[in-house]
Amino acid sequence: MSVFNTSMKILRSKLPILLIYVVVIVMVSILMMAAMGSQENVSDTFEQKGCAITVINRDLGGKLSEGLEEFLFRTNQKVSIDDDKEKLQDALYYENTAYILLIPEGFSEAFLAGEEVFLSKTTLPDSIESYYVDMQIDQYLNAVRLYMQAGIKNTEEILEFVSADLDSSANAEIIVSENPNSDDSQLHIFYFNYLSYSMLALMILGISTILISFHQKDLYRRNLCAPIKLIRMNGELILGISVFAGACYFILIGCGLALHWEKLWDFKLLSLLCLNFLVFSIVCVGIGFLTGVFVRSYNVQSAVANVVTLSMSFLCGVFVPQSIMSASVLKFSQFLPAYWYVKANHLIGSLSDISLEQLKAILGCLGIELLFAAALFAAALAISKKKRFMDCL
C-alpha cells in the first residue's frame, strides 16, 4: 500500500492549509448561531405598537379634535411640546418625537359642517411609523364622515359611535409553522450551503495535491519502472482520495453537529441534507480530480481553488441567497453544480411533510448534480489518458 500511504503523507504535509477551510466553516457557523441567537425571542402573539407623537391642538374646545387626539394617544406615545416652532423642530431633530400633528383653529366646526379643512403634519424623514399615524387619522375622520353621511347630527353621539367602533377588535390566532423557513431550518440551510464552499476548496486542494505529485512527468515515469501494475497504483490513489473525501465529509458535518447539536438535530431534515451534501461531495471530488489532471504546479493550484470556490459560491447562492439574485445570473448559475445543490437545500428546508411531488423536485436536483459529477469524471479521465499517451510517445 505504498501509494496509498504516500498519498496520505502528502495530504498530511498540506494539513495546515486544509484545516483553514474547516476553521472557516466552524467560525461561520458560530457567527451564524450568535446572529440567530439575538433573534431568538420571536413572538407568537400580536401587539399593536405606536410611535412617539405630538399633537398641537389649536382648535381649543373642539369636540372632534379632542376625540381625534384621544384616539391617537390610545396607541401612540404622547410627547408634550409647547406650540413653538423652534422647540418643535428641535424635538424632531433630536428624534424626541416622530410625528407632529397640527390641528388648526376651528377644525371641528368646519369638518362637521362639511367644509374642506386641512390638518398639517411634520414627520421624521423616511419614517415608516408616520404612515401608520396617517392611516389612523384617516380611519378616525372617515368613520366620523360616515356617521355624518348616515344622518346623525349630534356630534357627541357621532364621536361615541366612532370611539366604540375603533375600540372593537377581532380575535386572531397566530400559527407558527413547525418547519417551513423557521429559524432552525434556516440554520440548516445556511450551514449546509456554506459546507459546499469548504468542501469544494478542500477537494480541489487535497485531490489536486495528490494528483500533481503523482503525475509529475519524471515521477510518473519512475513509477512505471517499478513492479506495480498501473491499475493497482490508480486503485490505491482512488482509495486515498476516497478516504480523504470521506473524512472531510464527516468532519464538516461533525463540526456542525458537535457545535450546534440542539439546533441541527432533526433526523428527517438532516438525513436529506446529508444525502444532498454526499452527492455534492462527489461533484467536488470530480472538480478536484479535473483540477489535478489539468494543473501541474502548486501555485496555479491555489489560484484555481480560490477562483473556482469563490466564483461558484457567489454565483450559485452560497454566500448570497438565490432569492435576491437577478434572473440572468441565476440562469447562468444553472450551468454550475452548486446552484442545484443550494436549490436542493432550500427545497429540503421548505419541506413541511415528505410528499412524492416535493421529493421528485429534490431528487431532480440530486440527479443533475450526479450528471455534473459524471461529466467531470469523464472529462478528467479523457484528458488524463491523452496526457499519458503524449508522454509515452
Binding site: S2, N5, T6, K9, I10, S13, K14, T209, S213, Q216, D218, L219, R221, R222, N223, L224, C225, A226, P227, I228, K229, C392, L393
Partner: protein, 310 residues
Amino acid sequence: MVIEVSNLVKRYGDRIALDHFNLNVAKGEIFGLLGPNGSGKTTAINCILALLKYDKGSIRVLGTDMTPDAYEVKRRIGVVMQNVAVFEDLTVQENIQYFCGLYIPEKQKRDTLVQEAIAFTGLEDYVKTKPKKLSGGLLRRLNIACGIAHKPQLIILDEPTVAVDPQSRSNILEGIRRLNREGTSVLYTSHYMEEIEQICTKIAIMDQGRVIALGTKEELKSMIKTGEKISVEIQGLAPEYLASIRALPHVERVQYDKDRLEIHCSGGRHNLIEVLHDLSEKNLSFGRVYSEPPTLNDVFLEITGKQLRD
C-alpha cells in the same frame, strides 16, 4: 547477458532516434554508454525500461523479453533517472521508503534496506529534510538512494551526475563502484567522458542513434591513430616552424592557437623528446609542456569529426 538489445529502431516522426541500435551488457559489468547530448542515450534507456514504444528490434533484460508488464524483471532492476524524481512533500526517508515499498512489500525488510540505502548514500543527517531544502548534490544522492534501496541485480543510471559538484560526483562514482563490487551489474550513461573512463569496464560510444565504437577504454583508444597529445606553451610561433614540426616522425596533426601548440602523435615511444629537441634546435623559447595520452574525446573526434561536447 543482463541486457541484450538488438537492431532497435525508434523514430519520432521523420527523425530517427535509434538506428539499428545494438547493446549487450554482461553480468558484473559497469557498462558505459557515452555520447553527446541528443545522441540517443536516454531514448535507448527508456526503450530498455519499456517506457517508450519502439518501431523495430528486440530487448531482453535479465533473460526475459522486456515489456511494460514484465513486473518480475522490473522488481530486479534499479533505476536512477536523468531528472530527479522524488516527492517534494515527503522527507528524504519517506521518499526512500516509498520507492523501496514499491519493490519490497515486507515492512521489516524494507525498513532495514531503507536504512542501508541512507547509509550508503551518506544521507544520515538529512532523513527528516524535505527535498527542496537539499543541495543539488544531496538531491542526486537521494535520487540514487531511491533507485538502489531494494538492492537490485541490475542498475540503470541515466546521467546521474548532471549539475553535481565535483565532491558529490566523486562520491556517486565511488558508490557505483561499490555496488558493482557487491555484484550488481550497471548500465551507466553520461556525456562526461572522464566519468565513463573512470568507472566503466566496457564502453559504447553513441552518435546519431547508433553505437559507433565498442570496447574497453584501452581497446577504444587503440582504435585511433592518436597515441599522444603534446601541448607546448609558446609565443609568436612563425608558420614555417609548424611545417617543420609536421615533418617530425609520428606527428599526425599540428594546431597552433592562442600561444598554445598542440601536436597529435601516433604511437611512438620518444615523441616528446623529439618535439622538444626540434624546438631547442630552432632556439625557440617555450613555457610549460604537457603530454597527455588519448582520451575518449579523441576517439569520438577521430571517428565522427566532432567533439563529444559539441
